[in-house]
């Protein structure tokens, strides 16, 4: 989806205009929820615009970008290399649907605009995997469009949802309550639901003491 709506430069970096616009608002939320030190894994890094901005804004945190798509990893790698920051690593291949993940630890996980452009089992795998990776009191932040109480929050989101499902029948905008249920099953508590510009939401989940032992069979 990103590669259909974004643009690619001659040197191989992808650019997303929405990513440019939402970086600031997401940064403001992250500032209030991320730990003061440690490692943050970004899942579905996409163009790499976010992770570079985050690494610059939070120099006390070490950032690990990742993506399932090789072409997008190249984009992230170029941006990381150009940024020349010492708190961001080259991207790794990470498919949330393939356990074990390629990263063996993280204090926080950030996942922007993945849930609606992936089959529903990917969301279930995201929370199962995150529960395994994060210790107690770890943070998982997701951002994107969501339904609220079973309803779209804007006509534009409804049209977007239809376009997503036409593109891939397994994609679609998910309900915050349903996503939160999956989170709870995997030992997370829903710490915050924050309305963002352009009818998006940031969801903040905190892993519990028992998250690492959460029932993976659910």
């Amino acid at each position: 989806m990103l590669k259909e709506s974004g643009t690619r430069s001659g040197r191989g970096t992808w650019h997303s205009a929405p990513a440019e616009r939402n970086t600031g608002p997401i940064l403001n939320v992250l500032a209030g929820v991320l730990p003061t030190q440690g490692k943050v894994l970004e899942i579905a890094s996409g163009t790499g615009q976010h992770v570079v901005a985050f690494a610059r804004a939070f120099p006390h945190l070490n950032w690990q970008p990742s993506d399932v798509d090789a072409d997008l990893r190249t984009s992230v790698e170029l941006r990381v290399s150009e940024a020349a920051l010492d708190n961001i690593r080259p991207p790794v291949e990470l498919d949330v649907m393939r356990f074990p993940w390629s990263v063996d630890s993280a204090d926080a996980i950030v996942c922007i605009n993945m849930i609606h452009v992936a089959p529903w089992p990917a969301t279930e795998a995201l929370f199962r995997g995150a529960a395994r990776l994060l210790g107690p009191r770890g943070i998982l932040v997701t951002y994107g469009p969501y339904l609220r109480g079973g309803r779209h929050t804007a006509p534009s989101n409804e049209a977007f949802d239809e376009a997503l499902r036409a593109r891939d029948v397994e994609w679609g905008i998910r309900d915050i309550d349903v996503v939160s249920d999956v989170a709870r099953v995997n030992g997370f508590t829903v710490e915050d639901v924050i309305a963002m510009p352009a009818n998006n939401f940031t969801l903040v989940f905190r892993s519990g003491a028992d998250a690492a032992g959460a029932d993976l069979s659910v």
């Binding site: 356990f99 390629s102 395994r132 993976l216």
Partner: protein, 93 residues
Amino acid sequence: MAIATARHILVDAEDQCEQLKQQIIDGSDFAEIAQEHSTCPSGQRGGDLGSFGPGQMVKEFDTVVFNAPVNEVQGPVRTQFGYHLIEVTSRED
């Protein structure tokens, strides 16, 4: 660069992992056991993980995939996700 394909079965308990391994040794089908018992989403496709190169998986997993004999069930291998039975299905060094 080396590249390998592998399939696996992931469960929470080591003893269950051992039992499933014995069932496979006794003739049960790996893919069917994966479908029935694996807590990895890959279980739905018989545990198939596709192909990957060295360093793309966590160390414990990587070591098996790039060293173990092909077509032989390995494990239990512990990662933070649980206990795995791993079968390397092909490898080009």
